[in-house]
């Protein structure tokens, strides 16, 4: 699918050849930096934008030309967009009413939805009289009430404080589990994506760079962008050879190259928690100098300066005393955990 805004010199490819299959009942997350096209992709699925090229199929049926009100898809808007002139109950019942469902059925479903999001006591209130978290749950209930095949959620948690956000993340997972509805969730918070999703699609500049399960994306990022965007990563200039992985400076740092990796120069990546520190000069370790340690509570980040000038970070578990005992300037040996080095495309 392609989506171009504007034309001529001002044309902007908001979606560049995006192709994606989402399974029924899946919790799928679109992850990417601001402006990468997540909302645009969601709006195409909802029907608010028409793709410049390509098609949108739902259970095999082509919905590309259908207007939003004829798609079995509901959206939880980033700003909630609750109707200010209706009560919480009327907001939740709106979709079913527009579908022409009988009054009794609407009332029953509204009851059920209010219970699901634990807002029974607020049925008669107006959205303006609710807190942010409560509004968010109304928006969720309103979108779930018509039992859509797909629920689209555009950064629904971004306006909430950290504690409420954690709570709502759990609640969203529970709701998805209970209803069995396919969720397409948009976020630019990588931790949120990793903890909640069945699969993640990482986007950048209108392109889908990688699709995969959280573990796969985290441990086997396809390129530098994905590795950098998801979690923290150390990048090393290196070389892939028949018999192992080498740094540009010549040291051998890893065993047999992962299958499929191209022989030759490459960028190697390693997560900070996979960097092990040893005594200086231990056989097989790289020599490095500590430049700074930063205490994070459970972890301590140790900034290291390798012999060739590369800066890397090692994440160490903080000892009971809270002090890892590495003063700036200390000489250490560095080793990477077995299989922790990733070879990146570019």
């Amino acid at each position: 699918m392609v989506k171009v805004f504007g034309s001529g010199d001002h044309a902007l490819r908001a979606l560049d050849d995006v192709s994606l299959t989402i399974e029924t009942g899946e919790f799928f997350t679109l992850l990417g930096p601001s402006g990468c096209g997540k909302t645009t992709l969601l709006r195409c699925i909802a029907g608010f934008e028409t793709p410049t090229a390509g098609a949108i199929l739902l259970s095999g049926r082509d919905f590309t030309a259908e207007p939003p009100n004829r798609r079995p898809v509901n959206t939880v808007f980033q700003s909630y967009a609750l109707f200010p002139h209706l009560t919480v109950a009327q907001n939740i019942g709106f979709g079913l009413e527009m579908l022409g469902r009988p009054r009794a059925e609407v009332a029953a479903t509204v009851e059920r939805m209010l219970a699901l999001v634990k807002l029974e006591a607020f049925a008669g209130r107006r959205p303006q009289q609710l807190s942010g978290g409560q509004q968010q749950r109304v928006a969720l209930a309103r979108a779930l009430a018509p039992a859509p095949q797909v629920l689209l959620l555009d950064e629904p948690l971004s306006a909430l404080d950290l504690k409420l956000r954690k709570e709502m993340q759990g609640e969203l997972k529970r709701l998805q589990h209970e209803t069995g509805i396919t969720f397409v969730f948009v976020t630019h918070d990588q931790e949120e994506a990793l903890t909640m999703s069945d699969r993640i699609g990482v986007m950048s500049e209108g392109r889908l760079l990688q699709i995969g399960a959280p573990r796969e994306i985290y441990n086997h990022p396809v390129n530098r962008f994905v590795a950098d965007f998801i979690g923290e990563t150390n990048f090393l200039r290196g070389r892939v050879a028949q018999d192992g992985l080498y740094l540009a400076t010549g040291e051998r740092v890893g065993a047999a190259p992962p299958s499929g990796a191209r022989i030759g120069e490459a960028t190697l990546a390693v997560r900070p928690e996979q960097v092990r520190l040893e005594g200086p000069g231990d056989p097989g370790s790289l020599s490095a100098r500590v430049t700074q340690t930063v205490y994070f509570g459970t972890d301590t980040h140790c900034h290291l300066h390798l012999a060739d000038g590369t800066e890397i970070i090692a994440r160490l578990q903080s000892p009971p005393s809270g002090d890892v005992g590495l003063a700036p300037g200390a000489e250490v040996g560095v080793r990477f955990a077995e299989g922790a080095l990733q070879v990146l495309g570019d």
Binding site: G47, F48, P68, N69, T75, F83, F94, P146
Partner: protein, 302 residues
């Protein structure tokens, strides 16, 4: 609330009254004073050459609704008066509806322009206000009279053979009033639409509403304060309109305003004029009450 706090809030209330006293006195004298005089006049007897004689009489109010036959002295409803009341209310309601039908798309159009263009469009909307009402009304006359722009154009195009009589009909008055009061509808509607969150429309479509349902169930209820304000601003002055029915109605399509003027002028029946004025005020009050109730019911329902 503590005692000290209560005293402070009483003190604040007193200061508030003191500060607004000059304005309140002015309002009382300038607004209620004349109104009181009119009310008193409506219960006096007419003088020979206008004015009133200080003698209690209910004739003014009697004549508003009823008339005594000159020959046999029987009392019957004052049909001519009732026709005028009915015409006033009917034309005012129609004017309100027409200005709403024209004003809503106009206000919508302006509110959806880029912000830097809106000021210009609003300015254009208010331009007619810069010209004297009488002159504007005569200009309308020039357009719709038998040898006017519209008829000549239609005849020139061969659509009609004879000029259509518009001037001096209710239609002419309606056209004139709709033209004159349109800006009063557009401005509050624009203010309401400008505040309207357009994402509501997408939310409506997303929840299976058709275009019509989005308009009826989402847009109109949300911009309702603007609709109410615009309707009041158009309806109230329409009801008391004087110049437009006078010029375009040509004395035949009299409305309450013209009828009141008649009593204070040639009619030389000031008590009747005063009673009519009070009646007009009453109708306006009732209309406002209906509007206010309509708006607050909305709130109470929630």
């Amino acid at each position: 609330m503590g005692g000290a706090e209560a005293a402070r809030s009483r003190e604040r209330a007193r200061t508030g009254w003191l500060l607004s006293a000059p304005a309140l006195v002015l309002l009382l004298v300038a607004a209620s004073g004349p109104l009181l005089i009119v009310l008193v006049y409506s219960f006096l007897a007419p003088g020979q050459y206008g004015n009133v004689v200080w003698q209690f009489s209910l004739d003014g109010w009697f004549q508003v609704f009823l008339q005594r036959d000159i020959f046999d002295g029987t009392v019957g409803p004052a049909d001519a008066h009732l026709t005028i009341f009915w015409r006033s209310v009917k034309l005012s309601i129609l004017t309100t509806l027409i200005t709403f039908a024209l004003g809503l798309p106009t206000a919508w159009f302006i509110a959806t322009r880029p912000p830097d263009r809106r000021a210009m469009w609003l300015f254009l909307i208010t331009i007619p206000f810069w010209t004297n009402l009488l002159i504007r009304t005569f200009a309308i006359m020039e357009v719709i009279r038998n040898e006017g722009l519209l008829n000549n154009l239609l005849i020139g195009l061969g659509i009609i053979g004879q000029p259509v009589q518009i001037v001096f009909t209710e239609t002419a008055v309606l056209i004139g009033m709709a033209y004159v009061y349109l800006p009063l509808m557009v401005l509050p509607l624009f203010a309401a639409i400008d505040r309207f969150d357009f994402r509501m429309i997408e939310a409506g479509y997303d929840l299976y509403a058709s275009r019509w349902q989005v308009l009826r169930r989402v847009i109109l209820p949300i911009i309702r304060p603007g609709i109410v304000a615009g309707s009041i601003l158009v309806f109230v002055p329409s009801l008391g309109a004087y110049v437009t029915p006078r010029v375009l109605g040509g004395g035949k399509q009299m409305m309450i305003g013209n009828f009141i003027e008649l009593q204070f002028g040639q009619g030389r029946n000031w008590p009747l004029g005063a009673a009519l004025s009070m009646l007009l005020l009453a109708i306006v009050m009732v209309a406002l009450l209906v509007y206010v109730r309509a708006t607050t019911r909305e709130e109470r329902d929630g």
